[in-house]
Symmetry: none
Amino acid sequence: MKASIITIGTEILIGQIVDTNSAYLGEKLGEAGVTIVSRFSVSDQKDDMFKALERAQNDADLVILTGGLGPTKDDITKKVLAEYFGRGMYFDAKQYDRLKEFFKRINRPTTKAHEEQCFFPQNTIFMENAMGTAPGMLFHFGDTQFISMPGVPYEMKYIVENHVIPFIEKQRNEFLYHYTIQTAGCGESVLAEKIEDIETNLENHLSIAYLPSLGKVRIRVSGHGTKEEQLQADVDRTVNQIIERVSKYVFGENTDSLQSILGELLKEQQCTIGCAESCTGGLISNLITSVSGSSAYYQGSIISYSNRLKKELLGVKEEILDEYGAVSHQVVTQMVKGCIDKLGTDYAIAVSGIAGPTGGTPEKPVGTIYIGVGNKDDVSVKKLQLTKNRSKNIEYTAYAALNFMRLFIQGKLSDT
Amino acid sequence: MKASIITIGTEILIGQIVDTNSAYLGEKLGEAGVTIVSRFSVSDQKDDMFKALERAQNDADLVILTGGLGPTKDDITKKVLAEYFGRGMYFDAKQYDRLKEFFKRINRPTTKAHEEQCFFPQNTIFMENAMGTAPGMLFHFGDTQFISMPGVPYEMKYIVENHVIPFIEKQRNEFLYHYTIQTAGCGESVLAEKIEDIETNLENHLSIAYLPSLGKVRIRVSGHGTKEEQLQADVDRTVNQIIERVSKYVFGENTDSLQSILGELLKEQQCTIGCAESCTGGLISNLITSVSGSSAYYQGSIISYSNRLKKELLGVKEEILDEYGAVSHQVVTQMVKGCIDKLGTDYAIAVSGIAGPTGGTPEKPVGTIYIGVGNKDDVSVKKLQLTKNRSKNIEYTAYAALNFMRLFIQGKLSDT
């Protein structure tokens, strides 16, 4: 199946919004076996949208639109689609009831604009949106299928995962099977070199893709074929070969994250954790608590941004701060110990560093970061020297700290 | 001037790379008075590129291409352009000398691939690239101008700033002007209703767009015209009308964020801040510290996820926890006071709530959140009832808390 993506909204064209929806759609549809043949961004003007619709229909079997479904005047996607299909608009009482109920639940009044939001092109097939007010819409027009979704990323993602992917899967006549190996602590090109022979010798119906993100690389093994069981066995065999080769970097599979895997380990051991964060400013704690049920093992954190709070809340000694500076092996060691002591947890993660863009010195340039992990008996410290901008340095450090803690708990620190 | 953007590269279509170049180009060209009328992403296949070139030429006076200029086999932009223009390729000795010098300077040998990189379409006008090996190229073809640049963001940006913008400024005969009003605490549709008459009565050369994100809406006023000063005055007049109407929701302009505005306020008052976070798990602190220089006012935070730590670290009373529960007006009030007391800050933000998906009760369903803000004299508490998923509830709460603190410091809480 060939698909074309149209993102609607002047804010995308003029660069006020970075179009992350298209990247998400490209990846998800690709995984479902759909080839993206073209992508368009257009303003919220009727003529521009018509042109894009014609071009997309010319290119593809499936046209995916995002944006322009809100309640304001610049949201004209539905009207333009109705006109493009040569259909009228109708008021959908069921959708209106749903909307009224939604606003009742959050104690807000329904406005005239909301009523107007319940007009739809004739023959709309709805795709429920549990995250917002505008439903996804499916239209059959000629030989082409059109799916229109809101542009708000989490609403769009809900509809894609719950409706668009199942809709695509029903239509294909070949099985697709993916398995993703989650790795951390090794770059894409080094990983690729380590498994080069496995990739070279792959059978034709199998493929390997590298999906790098900050500090992590996902290795996705994909296969397509008509026999489901055989296909799974082929993919699994390749996955096992790869895991064996790069095992020290593998922390999980498919949708696992470093924070979910760390949580699993702590639950298994019935142990608790806390953090003492400085330059990461709460991001490590935020990642740990992004896992539902994390209250079973996560107790809390002390974010000691100022040196005063490093002393007052974590018991870091003044003379150590004076002698070695806040960004040092010695201080993060004391932060780990102070955290375990003050929070009464089994494990602790501590971080101190210079995220930038200011604050660097010749001895400790921007990007100098110390990470400490430990329990009451033992503390391990690691130094990073990062080169990115402030937000990327902070994000990279947070993931590196989670991975360092995981390796410590698993007793694998000596492997790396 | 109308422009169309083509980004070339299969990695963009399949979502392996988020296309930030287009957003940058949209913003920069828009500022230079160019209207972006369409945007295309295509694979690095000749047929797809031809189709995109035809479409872009049909739409615009200026076609901007990025990508496909590197030394590897999938980099075919120059060959495709030469064929599209019906021109041959020639070897440019001057560019080759430049390349040899470049590699000499970084102590690397020149390879055969680099020599091949010095073939260009006939009649190329060069735009120097001080950041890399592939120069920008300008072509006149029919009534349309084509500019082709490398896809590496910092190389592309160098060429845009130093050559493309000056080139455009020489040619333009119309100005474009945008002004963005940043609001928080009011939904898109209610805002639109409040300023409906302003929007209805707008002159033809002006327009209003709503750009919603979680808990915030940006209102962008745009205008185009031939007289720069008159145009700015027209846009500014509309902006002032809108700000007057919805002033209680306005927190800033253009690229301001809630955390940067909060930081400005604290710096003005020479005051400090800290947080006591529970369900937000560090996100509020993370947002505050995302601002470079935040150490001037941000001291630190206590993340008291467990009730034990609410008592031990913040001094929340056991009997209050027992009587009202951790998610209550009373407990966040004590958290604010405890935070100011333990961290020694002038202001504090505290949050306690049920982010979901589990942990709800009939009296306090998932999405029940209390936010407290205050100083040593006064504490204000607000209850939210959210309806989204865990991560969105946490994110919404963090921004609502920053906004609530801003209003408290500005003495504007009674307005809302």
